[in-house]
Structures are given as C-alpha cells and as structure tokens.
C-alpha cells in the first residue's frame, strides 16, 4: 500500500513539475522533484518496500523523460542505495542536509543519465556537454524546493504510522 502511495505521489509530482515549469520561465530552468522522493525513500523507507518504490519512481521518470527504458529505473535504484548509505553514515535529519542531499541526488540523476546516454546511444543523438550547466542549475533549484517536499512526504508517512496499543499505558 505504501509503495502504491509513493508511486501515486511520484506521478502527481511529475505532472505538477511539467505543468508548473510552464509558468516558471517555460522550461528555461528545470527541477527534478522526484529526486527528493528517492532520497527520502533511501533515508526513511524499509529495504524491500523502499527499493520497490524507488524502482517505481524510476519507471515514472523513464516515461516522463522519454529516455530509453530502464535508464532512470536503474539510476533511481542506485540513488536509493546511495541515499541509504549516506543516511547510515551521516545524520541527515534536518531540512538543510536533506536539501543538500536532494540537490546532489538531482545532479546524480542528470549526470548519471548524461554519462550512460553518452556511452550507450549513437553519438549523433548523445547529449552534449553543454547540458551539464543546466544540470547544476536544476540541482540547485531541486535542493531549494526539497524542504517543501520533505514536509509533504513526512505527512504522507505519518498516515501509515500506527501506535501500538498498550505501550504507553
């Protein structure tokens, strides 16, 4: 159930992102709102449901970005694992560390996608190095927006938290 809710949330965010960017310069700058979702999953979800939800979010990313299938699914699962590793070694509880990690996550998705596409697709359709600057701007914007998403995702998670009766009595 939690996985389905995260998937629905990813679909909603992807649609909001596409529609909202129309009003924010028409796409001159972009944001990767699903990167904070993946980071959040890496930090707070369980191993099995987290990795399944991350793969689902990756599928949504694949469809929305219209890239060859599997690219963002692979990168999303990898980002989930990286976020998990970072969460295990560093304290990422506040908004600022989350924003930083989300920005780096967005950069990871963009740069990872760029590298894999450069490596795998025919050279005439491979993305150029000039998109890296856009990726950096995207990462900064994503980091700036991620605290908003963090509170939303926390509220979403609270819906699934149940207090065990009798523990506090």
């Amino acid at each position: 159930m939690k996985i389905l809710v995260h998937l629905a949330c990813a679909l909603l965010l992807a649609a909001v992102q596409a529609a909202a960017l129309r009003f924010l310069g028409g796409g001159v700058v972009t944001a990767a709102l699903l990167a904070p979702c993946l980071v959040y999953l890496g930090l707070h979800a369980g191993n099995v449901d987290g990795v399944l939800a991350a793969a689902g979010v990756g599928l949504v990313l694949d469809v929305m970005a219209a890239t060859p299938k599997g690219l963002f699914t692979f990168l999303a699962v990898l980002l989930f694992l990286v976020a998990r590793a970072v969460g295990a070694s560093v304290d990422v509880r506040g908004r600022l560390p989350f924003a930083l990690l989300s920005g780096l996550g967005a950069l990871f998705l963009s740069f990872g996608g760029w590298l894999l596409l450069r490596w795998a697709v025919p050279p005439e359709v491979a993305p150029r190095a000039t998109v890296i600057l856009r990726a950096i701007v995207e990462a900064i914007l994503t980091g700036a927006l991620s605290p908003l998403l963090l509170s939303g995702l926390r509220r979403l998670d609270r819906l699934f938290e149940r207090e065990e009766p009798g523990l506090l009595g």
């Binding site: 960017l21 191993n47 469809v63 929305m64 699914t73």
Partner: protein, 290 residues
C-alpha cells in the same frame, strides 16, 4: 537452496532491480524510443493532472490580478493611486489579451497560408526540458481530435517540432532542439541542403551534412526542404550561426539558432500530413482553433 534465497532475498531483489533496468536500457539504447502501451497508460494518468495544475495556476493568477491584488492595493494606497493601479492592471490585461490575440491571429494567418494542410490549434499544458531527458512539450489535444504521430507542430515564427506520442486527450511534441530531432532544411538564399539536429537544450541546434563547398554564411535563413517526409517545405527553422569551415573534411560545422524560442511557446498549430488528412475527422478543418 531455498534457505539461501530466503536469507539473501533483499540482496537478490536489489541486484534484480539494478541489473534488469540496466539490461533493458542497454538493449533499447540504440533504438529510437517508441511509446509502449504502459507509457501511454502513465501519460493518460499524468496529462489530466498537468491540465488540472495548469488550469489551477492560471485561475489563481487571474484571481490574483482580478481581485486580490486590487483589494490589497485598496487597503494600502490612496484613492488616486488605487485608480492608477486599476488602470495599469487593466492596461496590462489588455496588453496580454492583445498579445494573445496577435499570436492567435498569426497562427490563423499561418493556417490560411497553407490551405493544402489541415490544421489544429493546441495549447501547451506542460514542458519537460530536463537536461538528461527528451525535450518535450505536452499539448492539450490528442487522438480524439485527430492528432497523430509525426505530425509537424509549428507557430507563426517557424517549426516547433513534431508529435512524438499521443493519448486520447493530449499529445507530446518532440522539440526541434532534442537530439533525436533531425530536420531536412535548405538555405533559403542558395538552396543548399543540410540537416538541423537538436543539441538537447532550449535554443541549441547544429547543422549537419552541409557540404564544405556550399555557399553558406552566418545569418543564412534555414527553411524546411520537405524531403524528410514529415515537415512541408518552406517552414522557417532558424539561422546559421558560428559557421566554421575546416580545411579538411566533407562537411561544414555550424550551430543554428532556432527561429522559435521553445520556452515561450504557448499556442501551436498542428499540421496534418496528407495521409493523416484523409483519415482526420472534421475537427481538423482548415484554420480550426482550440
């Protein structure tokens, strides 16, 4: 064996979810991306959401300009300055209306200038110009109104792109600045042939297959040649910039500044191809507007 699988099931699941997508990507990377049924199902879900957000934001902005802004101005300013503000806002609204009317008038003019093509007006409801993804616009018209794959999408200034995938009520446009977009063009001045391929970012395209011996200078206007079977001839694509003529090699190197700024497109015209026109319903009458 079963115990081993049970013990390492999380590790196996993670490895599966990492390796299978990577394998699928490597298997599909060489082919141009086609939309599957699953993709279209996802887009059927997201496009109404995009439309909803688009309408909501427009509604909120209109409400702000039409009511809330006025109320706040009235609370803060004197009677005279409030009146000035009202007039300014009215003027801005009229200017916006006039600009929109001008854009639509130019689109209708373009449609009338191409009587051999059925046209359909559409509004942009979403943009996806991420650095690692395809450069795509979402339009509010889909297969229900006769939109089909590969149909050219234009504005009065020139080519925007072509329809990449279609759902019932929306469609995606692969922009001319995408790396998968390649448009056959001619130099309007000399009729020299070349291709324009996107560079994967707004405002970026480059010239391909322009022979080094061709007469070409910076600033030359590029128009569609009509030889790619998608775009009709004579549509403006862009201008040649940063021309480099290397001492060796077959082809010239140049970048192209697209005639259309894809980040500012709000309304577009979809051109039905000759084949699609036969199949198209009455909604694709010449000059039809959204």
């Amino acid at each position: 064996m079963l115990a081993l699988l049970k013990r390492y099931r999380e590790l196996i699941l993670v490895a599966f979810l990492l390796l299978v997508p990577l394998g699928v990507f490597l298997a599909n990377a060489k082919k141009a991306a086609e939309r599957s049924r699953f993709d279209r199902a996802v887009l059927v879900i997201t496009s109404p959401l995009e439309r909803l957000v688009s309408w909501s934001v427009t509604g909120v902005l209109e409400a702000w300009h039409g009511y809330v802004g006025l109320r706040h101005a009235g609370e803060r300013a004197s009677e005279l300055s409030r009146e000035v503000n009202e007039l300014r806002m009215e003027r801005d609204r009229l200017l916006q209306d006039r600009a929109e009317a001008e854009r639509l008038r130019r689109l209708v003019g373009l449609a009338e200038a191409m009587p051999e093509h059925s046209t359909l007006g559409a509004r942009v409801i979403g943009v996806r110009l991420g650095p690692a993804g395809r450069q795509i616009l979402t339009l509010d018209r889909g297969a229900d109104r006769g939109v089909g794959r590969l149909m050219p999408v234009v504005v009065a200034d020139g080519v925007v792109g072509r329809v990449h995938s279609v759902t019932g009520s929306s469609s995606e446009v692969l922009l001319l600045v995408d790396t998968y977009s390649s448009i056959a063009v001619r130099v309007e001045r000399t009729r020299a042939r070349a291709n324009v391929r996107g560079m994967g970012k707004p405002g970026g395209a480059r010239l391909e297959y322009a022979l080094r011996t061709e007469d070409m200078i910076e600033g030359d206007l590029l128009v569609t040649s009509g030889t790619d079977g998608i775009f009709p001839r004579g549509l403006v694509v862009g201008r040649v910039t940063q021309l480099r003529r290397k001492p060796q090699g077959l082809f010239l190197e140049a970048t192209v500044t697209p005639a259309v700024d894809v980040t500012r497109v709000e309304e577009v015209l979809i051109l039905a191809s000759a084949r699609s026109r036969e199949e198209a319903p009455a909604a694709l009458a010449p000059g039809a507007t959204p």
